[in-house]
Symmetry: C2
Subunit: 329 residues, 2 copies
């Protein structure tokens, strides 16, 4: 392949009619807990577009759920959860082996997907990064600011460190299980990492990621990290220990290539363009491909979006993107 | 004064009981349209805390409202508006002088506030920046991604440019009227500027800001610009034409001071700290003051937050902040 490999964050998401059909019959959590339905959802974009890798259908909130929180999605307000994390004593109930057992349906979904996908395609697993998981558990619901969670880092720093350290242990076992089940690589989503300034990110969010990265790279697993809104965190990301960095759409690819010469870079088309027109998508895809080609002819590059696909995305724009990447070969 | 002047974005907001009392009797728009109620809301933090400036109570969405959209706030989902901007023909109905007449209740609120505040305190006016206003008008509601609006920049760039150029003309008249009514300075809030990458920001969002800045500085008015989430836009902000830059909490003050040596810098305490404890606030306030002192002893510095005060803020933390800044004198 003389072009960068291609997959798209949330490629199996709400913009696809097949996904909508599954959801018409099944709740979101029924879908996530059924390996067969997860495979059906994950395969739809593979059949429809010229993608190089599938991603297991799941959600980062399976971990809080397995820890005993009920996670519900009401309307378009994002997830809400019961029993927010308020006291360090709650951590005593966190039993890592038991939890990994409770989460085994996700590696099972990876195994099922690998069976249907075959060996010729890539397969990705994923999980939420420790700070993002903790942000939901502290706040108790999705919030564009997560002000309560951010304040708790400062009022109860030891509690936060302790919780994220255990979350790192959970993630090591959980991601390793996904790799054993057939994932070629796993991605950590630090969806709310960008809310922290560099000082807080370095102090709180980075160390547990480094712990996860050290454990997985020690087993020759491949790990990618995506920090949404992490434009100010690029120098820190160089130290995360993951082989690959998935770039937010606001980080110029060339800048990242200069600052992170030794990392695999997954970049970073603005997903809002997929609501525009196929012509716009083709033009912007060509621009990004040119930037990747300048990096030693696509060396250590993966073509992706700079954030997950939006529900309003026009599938024809996704086709246009895939066709343009194929033309780069 | 041998310390930086102090005010806080959203200092008159929902965290204050007096504001809640007003809102128990009046809708949000009743409040915004009544100069007397606006003054009452704006004065509460002045009476409670040792602040150096008041800010007129208003909302950036008064402009879309005056343009004929109905703007409603339902639950905690943020504003929704009727009649989103879809066709360039809609711009023909935008009559700048008529609109400024419709918006005159805001300069009136500035004048009323100045009468009560007296001359010894500073007084700020404000407005939404052109891209942020357009984002709401294109999207039709608040959205953490504004994907529809961002896509429209690419499908209908001329429409977007034209709309923002007219918005710039509106802002010039509107902000000048606030200055004539007694505002010492005015701030543009580009709340959604950070959603654009630098290329799109330079192409779309910056030119109308420069137009506004040129017109107002030509009249010796003082203009500040706040771009939320604009960590990646700092080099562009240097070219905005405003004398002052209000820094997002994720931009290190020292870095901004190095990159913007000729601008007044308004920085930038993380507002999430005001949900923590007075002790934490004092410590972090002292750190930021030290960074400001290093800039030629507070020269061209204003002490503020790096984003508006959150509704869950503890007023005691605001007191602690104000006391620490006073101690710097």
């Amino acid at each position: 392949m003389e072009r960068p490999p291609l997959w798209l964050m949330r490629q199996a998401g709400r913009y696809l009619p097949g996904y909508q059909n599954i959801r018409a019959k099944h709740s979101f959590w029924e879908l996530c807990h059924s390996p067969a339905l997860c495979t059906q959802a994950a395969m739809e974009p593979m059949e429809r577009f010229a993608l190089d890798a599938a991603i297991v259908f799941s959600d980062i909130l399976v971990i809080p759920q397995a820890l005993g929180m009920q996670v519900s999605f009401e309307g378009h307000q994002g997830p809400k959860m019961t029993k927010p994390l308020k006291e360090v004593a709650q951590l005593h109930a966190w039993n890592v082996p038991k939890l990994l057992e409770a989460l085994s349906f996700v590696p099972e979904a990876v195994r099922h997907l690998r069976g249907v996908l075959g060996e010729e395609y890539g397969l990705l697993g994923f999980a939420g990064a420790p700070w993002t998981l903790l942000a939901y558990m502290f706040e108790g619901h999705a919030d564009k600011n997560f002000a309560v969670a951010r304040a708790m880092l400062h009022t109860q720093p030891e509690f936060a460190h302790k919780a994220m350290d255990i979350l790192a242990d959970i993630l090591i076992g959980y991601l390793e299980a996904q790799c054993e089940a057939g994932a070629d690589a796993v991605q950590l989503f630090d969806s709310w990492g960008g809310l922290l300034n560099a000082e807080d990110y370095a102090r709180f969010a980075l160390p547990p990621i480094q712990k996860v990265a050290k454990a997985l790279t020690g087993k020759n697993r491949r790990l990618l990290l995506f920090v949404r809104d992490g434009q100010h965190l690029l120098p820190l990301l160089a130290q995360c220990g993951c082989q690959g960095i998935s770039l937010d759409w606001r980080i110029p690819f060339q800048q990242a290539a200069a600052q992170l010469p030794n990392h695999c870079l997954q970049g970073n088309l603005d997903p809002a363009l997929l609501l525009a027109s196929p012509e716009v998508v083709r033009e912007e895809t060509r621009k990004l491909l040119a930037a990747m080609r300048a990096r030693n002819h696509y060396s250590h590059c993966i073509f992706n979006l700079g954030h997950g696909i939006f529900p309003q995305t026009n599938p024809e724009c996704v086709s246009a993107l895939c066709e343009e990447v194929a033309l780069a070969a």
